[in-house]
């Protein structure tokens, strides 16, 4: 049984201008100790997916369909109290703006201890000791738990956020653009740290990013999202070397590659779909250079190419043959 299984997830937002289909039929799997990269342009539904899994959707949002199975249990069917008991212990999220997520007038160690005390029946002293252990786990000196956030650099704050996410030994950690606001060298440090931790703690890691190029080094699997759907999923090798969806292909080409020629790629013309009223058929067809008549009215199913490799494109064979 996989650790996490998301099946045909639909998450909609009720707004004054109608129903916004942020996630509209996304699915993927995650195993213990495995790292999955969730990648796509802004507005493709990556973060909404994460918030649905952690049950942290704002009140306008609701899961309109699908299943989220965590060790076989559908968490969508659980009550709020049952969820509260599970959150942090089962799933925790590291958000993008680490700098803004910490309370500026509280010692960092206390903030971590607070999370522990809230979820487990331990005394504050014990929780603080664990906060110190967590600091060491994320490669920071134990004595820094008494510091305030302003005494930390951006990279250290992000490490503290990771420590906090690990406070209750979660089985799944979701990093929502955890390195986007950081410098390149610090980004590399944090990614190394996350990779080390997931191996040591055997936890599932979901890394959400718009930067496809960092996934090859940190993840085992990649799910490419477009218009609220997972359009292609597979191992890192599948995605990069046996690409089977035109969107994935174009997205990869958008990143500079020093082993390829020094040519600025064309990019992807057009804009992502309006999810108030997504296009009929395949949602990528208005921007797809391979689109044919069938793409305009028929939504492609996810086709199995190999054990872990799926693509939702009518013409995935042509894409794979480089046509």
């Amino acid at each position: 049984m996989p650790l996490l299984e998301v099946k045909n997830l639909k998450t909609y937002f009720d707004t004054s201008s109608g129903e916004y289909k942020a996630v509209d039929g996304a699915g993927f799997e995650l195993d213990y100790g495995e790292a999955l990269g969730l990648v796509g342009e802004s507005g493709c539904g990556k973060t909404t997916c994460a918030l649905s899994i952690a049950k942290l959707l704002p009140k306008e949002g609701r899961v309109a369909g699908g299943e989220i199975l965590m060790e076989g249990i559908d968490i969508l069917k659980l009550s709020d109290d049952e969820i509260r008991a599970k959150r942090w212990k089962e799933v925790s999220i590291i958000f993008q703006g680490a700098m803004n997520a910490l309370n500026p007038v509280m010692m960092v160690g206390d903030q971590i201890a607070e999370a522990i005390v809230l979820h487990e029946k331990v005394r504050r002293e014990e929780a603080l000791r664990r906060a110190g252990d967590l600091f060491e786990l994320v490669e920071m000196p134990r004595k820094r738990i008494v510091n305030y956030p302003h005494e930390f650099s951006g990279g250290m704050k992000q490490r503290a956020m990771i420590a906090m996410a690990l406070a209750c030994n979660p089985k799944i950690v979701i990093g929502d653009e955890p390195t986007t606001a950081l410098d390149v060298m610090v980004q590399a440090q944090i990614l190394n740290l996350l990779e080390k931790l997931r191996h040591e703690l055997n936890m599932g890691l979901i890394l959400i990013t718009h930067d496809l190029s960092i996934l090859g080094e940190t993840c085992d699997k990649i799910a490419v999202m477009y218009g609220g759907k997972v359009v292609e999923t597979g191992t890192v090798k599948d995605i990069f070397e046996h690409t089977a969806h035109p969107y994935t292909e174009r997205l990869i080409s958008c990143f500079p590659n020093i082993s390829k020629g020094k040519v600025i790629p064309e990019g992807i013309k057009g804009t992502p779909p309006n999810m108030f009223d997504p296009p009929a058929g395949c949602s990528f067809h208005p921007r797809c250079h391979m689109a044919k008549e069938v793409c305009r009215y028929m939504e492609p199913d996810a086709e199995k190419i190999s054990e872990k490799h799926l693509s939702a494109c009518h013409f995935f064979r042509e894409v794979m043959n480089g046509e």
């Binding site: 342009e41 802004s42 650099s153 990279g155 410098d183 390149v184 060298m185 610090v186 590399a188 440090q189 190394n192 718009h210 930067d211 496809l212 190029s213 960092i214 090859g216 080094e217 940190t218 890192v236 090798k237 990069f240 070397e241 174009r250 997205l251 990869i252 958008c254 990143f255 500079p256 590659n257 020093i258 082993s259 020094k262 600025i264 790629p265 064309e266 990019g267 992807i268 013309k269 804009t271």
Partner: protein, 331 residues
Amino acid sequence: MGNRIIAEVKDLKVHFEIKKSLSKDLFGSSKRNLKAVDGVSFQIKEGEILSLVGESGCGKTTTGKAVLGLVKPTEGKVFFSGEEIKSLDKGSMKQFRQKAQMIFQDPYQSINPREIIMDIVAEPLEVNRLVKSEEERTERVREALEQAGLVPAEDFFFRYPHELSGGQRQRVVIASAIIMKPDFIVADEPVSMLDASIRTEILNLMMDLRKHNRLAYLFITHDLSLAWLVSDRIAIMYLGRIMEIGGADEIIQRGLHPYTKALTSIMPVPGVRRKAGRKVLPGETPNPMDEIRGCKFSGRCPMAEPLCREQDPELAEISLGHCVACHFVQK
């Protein structure tokens, strides 16, 4: 690329004085200087693209601003088309302001949300009193928008920024820079707020403009692979200094400075993992307010020896056009 040097800085230093708090004033702690830029020299030729690459706080933006005369150098000289900008008279200064433009990072913040696109793009013309009639104004705006790839231009005239996507907004920013027909643009992280798919469109636009208008760019970025993709030459900055400067391919493939090597080793490549050879430096960039003896990079350098902590290496030419500031490379 021409041979005419369009912009040049010589031993540029920009130091900011840090205001003391009252308590520090009372207890008499000494005045502190933040050496944002501390001895930088380079030239940019007509139609050339030079990238300044470095982490936050390395002084790349401050250098860019100093080149445009937007911050005053503490020491050193800035030249534009052979003339020192400090000594320009009022008329030449006005000319300079038109010929050298800047593009900022965030198109959500750098344009006025309460003006229509027409007024945003026409503003530089009006400030400089360059148009005489309404027709001329409209014509110039149309031309700039079309060059920036916003076609048909009429569709954009009366729209507000919030009606545009991020990529379109950045095109508006570019249109209002090129409406002055500049020779030189400082582009400060012009695409780092944009999605990868839109990023390449904006880069292609910038390259087209250089081809057609012989524009030179100072391209400021933290992304080394992006710098490699667009520029002729790359300068690697660290704590207010240039550590290495040379041809873009040279720097990426045969970079010599330990800092350059570390940066190139962690450059993300879209593809299957490539773990070996990654040199992730421990620690973070030191506070630029702290005095560092010797080489500025010595605190994080894997090769540092006692000499590095005492003597600051000069930026010396290793081969034609390729300069490195490191004791060990020069040996």
